[in-house]
């Protein structure tokens, strides 16, 4: 037979595969136009699926980190506020001490009350919490970092200080015998046995339950920072030391010269403490800034990631509309042709 020979069965069915294909493309397009994404992404992306997944995972990790950073920010801001209040109360104590003279009436009681109030407020502020966690506890965030010095059952710290005084002078500060203590004796006690109570094992044993290890968290992919400070910082120790001097020895039986020595030692200690606290506060401020920077950098990265994911996943709606038109025209033509071809038979034209 010649090359132009066409079998009737082929003539009738030639367009069937094309019609079926067009119809299946149309159903896919329907899905795509309603979701804005490829109908079968896995099939569309093939070996890029893993890349697309990794982009999505990265994006979600950043979302998780951003919401986690909210907690970090809360805890850091609480620390900042607390440190701020500790610093300002220390500054006001320093001011009172500057204007204080040992000669005025009830001078000792004034010292005592200034010290006791400041110490109480230091302890309360150091025990601030955020999200149920003590912000100055380091990783030991479930326990109040500074024990209550004035608790009804005599605190370990007070017992230790009384014992140290007893050892040095053979009496308690409230004992009238204490009036015999000279200013220089007092000075050497304050810088010696008394100072020892605020450092090392004495501090961690009697005063602080905080861990020196700070809590840390990831604030951005690969960026882990310390997200807290702790009450074992020198600022806390120095302030506690200065305040305790005033509280314990201010209203005591000490001579006015010895009281003067206490006041000046306390003044210098509190000034040092204020400096340390300011440094810590600056550190917290810097950390907060890092968290804010991490958030904004992650936010711009997420925008880029979402754009990239969109480039992979999303279909061009204009292209879909054009494709829909083309396909429906094609389908109509195919139907029309099939109907026309069915009519084309010699049998129709032979008179019976």
């Amino acid at each position: 037979m010649s090359a132009s020979f066409v079998s009737t069965s082929y003539l009738g069915t030639a367009l069937l595969p094309s019609i079926a294909q067009t119809q299946s493309q149309l159903t896919a397009l329907e899905v795509e136009s309603s979701t804005g994404q490829y109908a079968d992404l896995g099939l569309q992306l093939g070996d890029q699926s893993g890349y697309e997944l990794s982009l999505k995972n990265q994006n979600e990790l950043m979302q998780t980190l951003t919401s986690g950073n909210g907690l970090v920010t809360t805890s850091l801001k609480t620390s900042q506020t607390a440190l701020d209040s500790i610093r300002s109360s220390a500054q006001s104590v320093t001011q009172s001490l500057t204007s204080w003279t040992s000669t005025e009436v009830n001078s000792g009681a004034t010292l005592q009350s200034v010290g006791a109030n400041a110490l109480q407020s230091l302890i309360a502020t150091a025990n601030s919490t955020a999200n149920g966690q003590y912000v100055f506890g380091g990783i030991n965030s479930s326990v109040a970092p500074i024990a209550d010095y004035f608790s009804s059952t005599t605190s370990a710290a007070k017992t230790a200080i009384d014992a140290a005084f007893q050892t040095a002078f053979g009496c308690l500060p409230t004992d009238p015998a204490a009036s015999a203590i000279t200013a220089s004796q007092m000075q050497s006690f304050l810088s010696g046995a008394f100072a020892n109570e605020f450092s090392g094992a004495n501090w961690t044993g009697n005063w602080s339950s905080a861990s020196s290890v700070n809590t840390s968290a990831q604030i951005a992919p690969g960026e882990t920072i310390d997200t807290s400070t702790n009450a074992n910082q020198s600022g806390f120790q120095q302030l506690a030391q200065g305040y305790t001097m005033l509280a314990e020895f201010g209203g005591s039986q000490l001579s006015s010269a010895a009281q003067q020595a206490v006041a000046s030692a306390a003044n210098s200690m509190i000034t040092q403490g204020t400096t340390s606290i300011t440094e810590t506060e600056a550190g917290v401020g810097a950390t907060l800034q890092r968290v804010t920077d991490a958030n904004s950098s992650m936010s711009s990265q997420m925008t880029i990631l979402e754009t990239q994911i969109g480039n992979l996943d999303n279909v061009d709606s204009a292209a879909i509309a054009t494709k829909l038109n083309t396909l429906s025209t094609q389908l109509q033509t195919a139907y029309q042709l099939t109907a026309q071809l069915q009519k084309l038979s010699l049998a129709q034209y032979i008179p019976t």
Binding site: S9, L41, G42, G46, S49, S142
Partner: protein, 496 residues
């Protein structure tokens, strides 16, 4: 020449008209029969000037038929593979959902997505380590990951079981077709020897060959006596004078370590690694490839991910007494030690969240934060500090740390766990994409080849109708001739 001779010629004209009409009728009635080859009645002039039907032949085109059969085999093979791969791809089809904004949950259940969810949960846990509810969310995410691996592995084995049972039915179809072929072939050989019309038997034989090529790739050789021999496309004899028996013992239950039986012809394996002459196409080849190569490779990848998880979350000795590292958050049934990369077969099916940290199984979530799942020697947070995040940070880091993988799974031998899981999804989706594209391509090749064959050997109704009109005219004329000759005889007789 005499008037009686004219009678004879007229008679032969009627006979050949009838034979031609029969051929045309057969052609018209089979115009829509797939694979039908049109018949042609061949006329010759006989000794006394009339016409005889010398033969009725089929229009055949062996080359095109071969092409149709070969492309049918290829398409069937790709279809079998694509069917299995599409089923497997369903298990990782989370790409179809848009990226969620909730950040912690994602639709779909690929191990890769579940691993990312676990990382997110751990990151949240790191921000509030003493929060038990957040810790439980980590355990939940870990359980989802373990069950994603379990169900992925189950899907792989189900695909293999299905392939195995499809192979069994394919083999029984092949045997039944070979038997039919044997009978038809014998009919043709004896028919040709006795000069009978074997056209319809030859049509049947061609159609059996096309059906056979659906199941198995074949090549055929025509013998001088009219019989046909069939060989697999790998070269093993399927039919030569007698049909060979194709045998296969199905395996009903598959696990990661199960190896399916090979299909054998006369004792020679034609599928599987041990086959000296493997088949390359046909549904049987596609199914065997799916069952023995593609699905097990994906299983191996899942096993590597599972084993990698057990290793990444393992707890190290913290007591300094040199104890071996033991499974932590993830463990597997019967675990006594960490699995080596070469011994992870079947882990994806048995990986589970350690009951020691799962509150629903009486476990303690805080062991995640502090370590110590394997006892006090493995406790990282020795002071019990509530804000301790060191262990959580280690776990987060371990999912992105590089670790070794077995080369047998076909992916990188050194990669981070999350990248490995992503690559595995890529691998599966790309296999699926290729197979689907191949199916589309091979199907269009089949329809092209079928169209070409149909055009070469099929029936055109208009042509048949034209021929029929010719025959009708010829019949009318012959009848007229008969009347005329008859009139002449009558005139002759009346004159006498």
């Amino acid at each position: 020449m005499s008037l009686s001779a004219a009678y004879n010629i007229i008679n032969s004209a009627f006979l050949s008209n009838a034979a031609q009409s029969a051929a045309i009728s057969s052609n018209i009635s089979n115009a829509s029969t797939p694979g039908y080859s049109r018949e042609v009645a061949n006329l010759v002039t006989n000794s006394y000037g009339g016409s005889d039907v010398a033969s009725v032949t089929r229009e055949t085109n062996a080359a095109l038929l071969e092409q149709v059969n070969a492309s049918t085999s290829q398409a069937a093979s790709e279809q079998a593979l694509a069917k299995g791969l599409t089923t497997l791809a369903q298990t990782v089809s989370d790409s179809a959902t848009s990226s969620s904004t909730s950040g912690s949950t994602k639709n779909g259940n690929s191990p890769s997505a579940m691993l990312a969810n676990l990382q997110d949960a751990l990151t949240t846990y790191e921000a509030s380590p003493s929060n038990v509810v957040v810790g439980q969310a980590v355990v939940t995410a870990a359980s989802s990951l373990a069950s994603s691996l379990n169900s992925g592995s189950a899907a792989v084995q189900q695909v293999r079981e299905q392939a195995d049972s499809d192979m069994a039915s394919s083999v029984s179809t092949i045997n039944s077709l070979l038997n039919q072929f044997s009978q038809v072939n014998a009919t043709i050989v004896s028919g040709l020897a006795t000069g009978a019309n074997v056209n319809s038997a030859q049509g049947t034989r061609d159609s059996i060959l096309t059906q056979l090529s659906q199941q198995i790739g074949i090549s055929t050789v025509a013998n001088p006596n009219g019989s046909t021999s069939i060989y697999t496309d790998g070269g093993v004899t399927l039919f030569n004078v007698t049909a060979q028996t194709v045998s296969f013992t199905p395996t009903t239950t598959y696990t990661a370590s199960t190896t399916g039986n090979a299909v054998t012809v006369d004792g020679v394996p034609i599928t599987g690694a041990s086959s000296p002459m493997p088949i390359h196409s046909g549904a049987l080849a596609g199914l065997a490839n799916l069952r023995d190569t593609v699905a097990p490779q994906y299983q191996a990848q899942l096993d590597q991910i599972a084993g990698g998880l057990v290793n990444a979350f393992a707890e190290n000795d913290q007591s300094g007494s040199g104890l071996a590292s033991l499974p932590g958050l993830f463990t597997y049934s019967g675990a006594t030690s960490l699995p080596a990369t070469t011994a992870m077969t079947g882990l994806a099916a048995s990986i589970e969240v350690n009951p020691a940290v799962d509150p629903t199984q009486g476990g303690d979530v805080s062991l995640l934060q502090n370590g110590g799942i394997n006892g006090a020697n493995y406790t990282y947070n020795t002071t019990g500090a509530a804000g301790y995040t060191g262990r959580i940070q280690q776990m987060i880091a371990s999912t992105s740390a590089t670790q070794p993988f077995d080369a047998g799974a076909g992916l990188a031998t050194s990669d981070s766990l999350s990248d490995y899981a992503n690559t595995s999804v890529s691998w599966l989706q790309s296999q699926n994409q290729q197979a689907t594209n191949q199916v589309d391509y091979q199907n269009s090749v089949v329809s092209q080849a079928t169209a070409a064959l149909s055009n070469a050997t099929g029936v055109n109704l208009d042509t048949e109708l034209t021929n029929m009109l010719n025959i009708e005219n010829s019949y009318t004329t012959t009848a007229k001739l008969l009347t005329t000759v008859n009139n002449m005889f009558t005139a002759l007789i009346n004159a006498a």
